[in-house]
Amino acid sequence: MAAVSPILVTKGLSRSFGGLKAVDDVDFEMAPGEIRALIGPNGAGKTTFVSLVCGRVEPTGGTIIFDGEDVTRLAAHQRVRRGIAYTFQITSVFGNLTAWDNVALAVQRHAGKGPRGARGLREGVQEALLRTGLAGRQGVLAANLAYGHQRLLEVAMGLALKPRLLILDEPTQGLSDGEIDGFVGLVRDIARDATVLLIEHNMDVVMRLADRITVLNAGRILAEGAPDAIRADAEVQQAYLGAPADG
Amino acid sequence: MAFGPHLLLATLDGLVTAAILALTALGLSLVFGVMRVVNVAHGEFFMLGAIVAWFVSSLVDAHPAIGFLAALVVSPLVVGAVALVSERLVLRRLNYQPEATIVATIGMLYIIQQLALTTFGPAARAVPAPFSLRIDFPWFGYSGYKLAVIAAAVLLILATWFVLTRTRVGLVMRATQYDSETAQAFGIPVDRVYAGVFATGAMLAAVAAVLIVPVQQAYYLMGLDPLLLSFIVVIIGGLGSLRGTVVAAVLVGVGDGVVSAFFSPTLAKIIATLLVALVLVFRPQGLFGTTAR
C-alpha cells in the first residue's frame, strides 16, 4: 500500500479527559478505498479516536491529515465538507422529520441552487434511499421507523454526503441477523467509491468486511494487520476476548 | 455632608440592600440548584410576603412589635403554602422541564401580581417598624431597625447554611441536587424534596420581604427589582452555589447602594445588567463558581 498516498494519517494523536488518556499517541494510516475495522475492548478509546478524526472532540496533542491537508484545527462541519462523514453510534436521526427530509439535509448542501438544485436534490435523496432500501418509507417520520430502519437511515445520510471517508460507529448494534447480512452488502457497495472506517463489535461482520483491522487497547494501537493475522494474534485474543476471536 | 460620611451612609444602606438581597437570592439559588428550575415568580413571592405582612400587622391591634412578629411567622407560612400548591399543581406536572417551567412561572408571576392588585390595591402601604431606635453617628443618625435587619439576615443565612451542610435534611437536598436519579434509587423521596425546596425558596423571599417592609412599604409591583437583582446575584455567584450567592449579594447590594448614591441609578442598572449578561455569556459558571455543571 505504500505506493498510493494515504487518505487519512494521524501522528501522535492524543486526548486525555482529566488524568485519563483515552487516546494515547496514536499513529494511524488508511489507504484510499480500503475497509478498515477498528476493534478493541470497551473503553479502548475507539469512539474517542474517531471523534477526534471527525472533529467532534478536540485533541490534546498530535495532528490529523486528511488527503494531504492538515485538518487538526478545522471545525467539524468544515471536515464534513472536505469529505469526512460520521454516523452516530446512538441512532440520532431527526425524529420529527420524514426519512426524505433527513436524507435531504445531507444532500441539499452540495445539490446547488435553483431548479437544477431542486432536481439534484430529488435525485440525490432518491439514490441514497434506494441504496439503503428505504425508498418505500420516504414519507414516514424518522421517529416512527423501526429501529433497523433508523440505523439504515443513519447510513443513508452518511452516504448521501458523498464522503470520501465514511466512519461507521457500531452500525450493526441491535440489528437482526438478516438485517446484518443486508448491511454487509451495503457497506461493500459503499466501499466501491469511499474509504470506510468501521467500529464494530460483531467479529463475524469484521471478518467478512475488513481489508485490514486495527486493534486499540487502553488508547494505544495494540496490533494492526490483515484479518487472518489479527485472528491468530495471541496478544489480541488475550486483550480483547480472553478467548478465540471467533465470537 | 462631606464625602466620607456620605460614603458611609451609602455603604450602610447598601449593606441593608445586600442583606435582603442575599436572603432572596438564596431562595432562588436553592430552587435552581436542587430543582434546576428558574423561578421567574420568585419576586412575586417576595411581594406576596410584604403584602401578607401588611395585612397581618394591620389586623393585630397591639404594639407594632407584636404585629411585626406575627407577620414574621404568618407571612412565610402563607407564601410557603402558595408555593407548595403551585409546585404540586404546575411544576410537578411539567416534570420540572426547564423551559416549560420558566413559561409556567411567568404565568404564576402574572397571576400573583394581578391578585395582589385586586385585593391589596395599587397604593403603597407602610408597615410600622417593631421598634424605633436611632443610632447616632457623629455625622448623622441611622435607623437602629435597619441595622437589626442586617443582623437578622446574617443569622438567617447562617442558619440556612447550617441546615444545608450539617443536617440530614441538607444532606438529602444535596444528594438530590447532585444526582436526582441516584438519590431516588437510594430511597430519597425526591418528589417531596422538590416540593419542600420550592416552598423553602419562596419562604426565604417572604422573610426577606417582611424584614424590609417597615423600611420600604408594600406595593404590588415591588417584586420586579428583587427578581432582577436576585438573578444578577445568582448568576455572578455561580448558579446554585451558596457561598457565591452570598458574596455576590454583598457585592451587588453595596455596589448598588454606593453607585446609586453618586451616579444615575438608571445608568448604574444598565451597566450592571449588561455586565451580568456578559458574565453569563463568557463565564457561565459565575465569577466565584468553581465548576460548571
Binding site: 471527525c54 464534513v80 439535509l105 | 406536572r93 423551559e99 409556567a104 404564576m108 392588585l117 385586586t118
Partner: protein, 320 residues
C-alpha cells in the same frame, strides 16, 4: 416539508389573506381598528416564531427588537422629520443590527442561560430608553404628528392616518411577512433550522455551520420584529417605553405558544385569539394579566403544541 403538493398550502394562505381583506368592509369601526393593530403585532409574533418555533431558541427579550424598530423608525421622524419609507427602512436596519450584535453574544449560551441573557439584554435596552428620556420621552412616549405619517407616491397621497389606509398597509405588510415565513419554512434553509432544533450536533456532522445558521435566523427574526415595531409607530403614531418592557417580550411567546409554534399561521391565530379573549374579558374584569397568566400555564400544561400544532399533529399533517 417533504417535496409535496404546494397547492393546498398556497390556497390556505391566500384564503386567509383574502378573508382579512374582505373583513375590512364588513367589520364595525372598533374591530376594524383592532384588527389592523393585531395584524401589525402578528408580524411581531411571526418574527418571534421564526426563532422560537423553527430553531427552538426561546428568547425572553424580543421586545428589544420590536422597540428597536419602533424607535429606529419613530425617532428620525420625530426629531429629524424623515419621510415614512426612510424611517421604515431605518427601523428594520436598527433591529437587524441589534440582532446581529446580540446574536453573536447570546448564541454562545443555550437553554436556560439563553433565556436569561436575552431577557437581560432586553432589560438593558428598556432602561436605556428611559435613560435617554430627553430624546425618547421615556415612559410617556411621543406621538408622531399627523402630517408626518403619509407617503407621497407620484402625486398620490398614502395617508396612514386614515383608518382604511392603515388597514391596507397593515394587511400588505402582514401578507409580505407571511409569504416570507412560508418561503423560509419550505426552503432548504428552513429544513436546516428545524434540524438544529431537533439535534444540533447531528446537524453539524452533516456539514452545517450551525452557529452561522442560527445567527442568520436571529438577525432575520430581529429584523422582522423590528419591521413590526416600525410599522406600529408609523401606522399608529405612538412610541413609548412600555412597548419595550418585559411584558412585550412575553406576549409574542404567548401568542406563538397559543397559535402553535413552528406553524406559519399560528402567530396570527394566537394574536387574534389573545386579543379577543382580553377584549371580551375586559367587559367583566380589568384583570387581564390574570388571564394572560392562566392561559400561559394552561398552555404549557395541557396544550404545548398550541392550536394549529395540535391540528397538524392530529388531523392535517400537511399544514405548514
Amino acid at each position: 416539508m417533504t417535496d409535496r403538493a404546494f397547492a393546498p398550502t398556497l390556497a390556505l394562505h391566500l384564503g386567509v389573506i383574502a378573508v382579512l381583506a374582505v373583513l375590512q368592509f364588513v367589520l364595525p369601526d372598533y374591530h376594524h381598528g383592532l384588527l389592523a393593530r393585531i395584524m401589525v403585532l402578528a408580524i411581531f409574533a411571526m418574527g418571534y416564531n421564526l426563532l422560537f418555533g423553527y430553531v427552538g431558541l426561546l428568547s425572553l427579550g424580543h421586545a428589544m427588537f420590536f422597540s428597536a424598530g419602533l424607535y429606529g423608525a419613530g425617532l428620525p421622524v420625530f426629531h429629524l422629520g424623515w419621510g415614512v419609507p426612510a424611517a421604515f427602512a431605518a427601523g428594520i436596519a436598527a433591529g437587524g443590527l441589534l440582532a446581529l450584535l446580540v446574536g453573536v453574544l447570546v448564541l454562545r449560551t443555550t437553554g436556560v442561560a439563553f433565556m436569561i441573557v436575552t431577557m437581560m439584554f432586553a432589560q438593558a435596552f428598556y432602561l436605556a430608553i428611559l435613560y435617554f428620556a430627553p430624546w425618547t420621552k421615556g415612559s410617556e412616549g411621543f406621538v408622531l404628528p399627523q402630517a408626518a405619517r403619509a407617503i407621497d407616491i407620484a402625486g398620490a397621497r398614502w395617508d396612514l392616518t386614515s383608518p382604511s389606509m392603515r388597514y391596507w398597509t397593515a394587511l400588505l405588510l402582514f401578507s409580505a411577512v407571511l409569504a416570507l415565513t412560508l418561503y423560509v419554512a419550505r426552503s432548504p434553509y428552513g429544513r436546516v433550522l428545524v434540524a438544529i432544533r431537533e439535534n444540533e450536533e447531528r446537524t453539524r456532522m452533516l456539514g452545517y455551520d450551525t452557529f452561522a445558521t442560527k445567527l442568520l435566523a436571529v438577525v432575520l427574526s430581529g429584523a422582522i420584529c423590528a419591521a413590526s415595531g416600525a410599522a406600529y409607530v408609523l401606522i399608529f403614531g405612538y412610541a413609548g417605553s412600555t412597548l419595550a418592557s418585559i411584558q412585550y417580550s412575553i406576549l409574542p411567546l404567548l401568542w406563538v405558544l397559543l397559535g402553535g409554534a413552528a406553524t406559519t399561521l399560528g402567530p396570527l391565530l394566537g394574536t387574534v385569539f389573545m386579543y379577543y379573549v382580553i377584549d371580551v374579558a375586559s367587559g367583566y374584569t380589568t384583570a387581564w394579566l390574570l388571564i394572560v397568566g392562566i392561559v400561559l400555564i394552561l398552555l404549557v400544561l395541557f396544550f404545548p403544541r398550541g392550536v394549529l400544532g395540535t391540528i397538524r399533529e392530529r388531523w392535517v399533517p400537511w399544514l405548514p
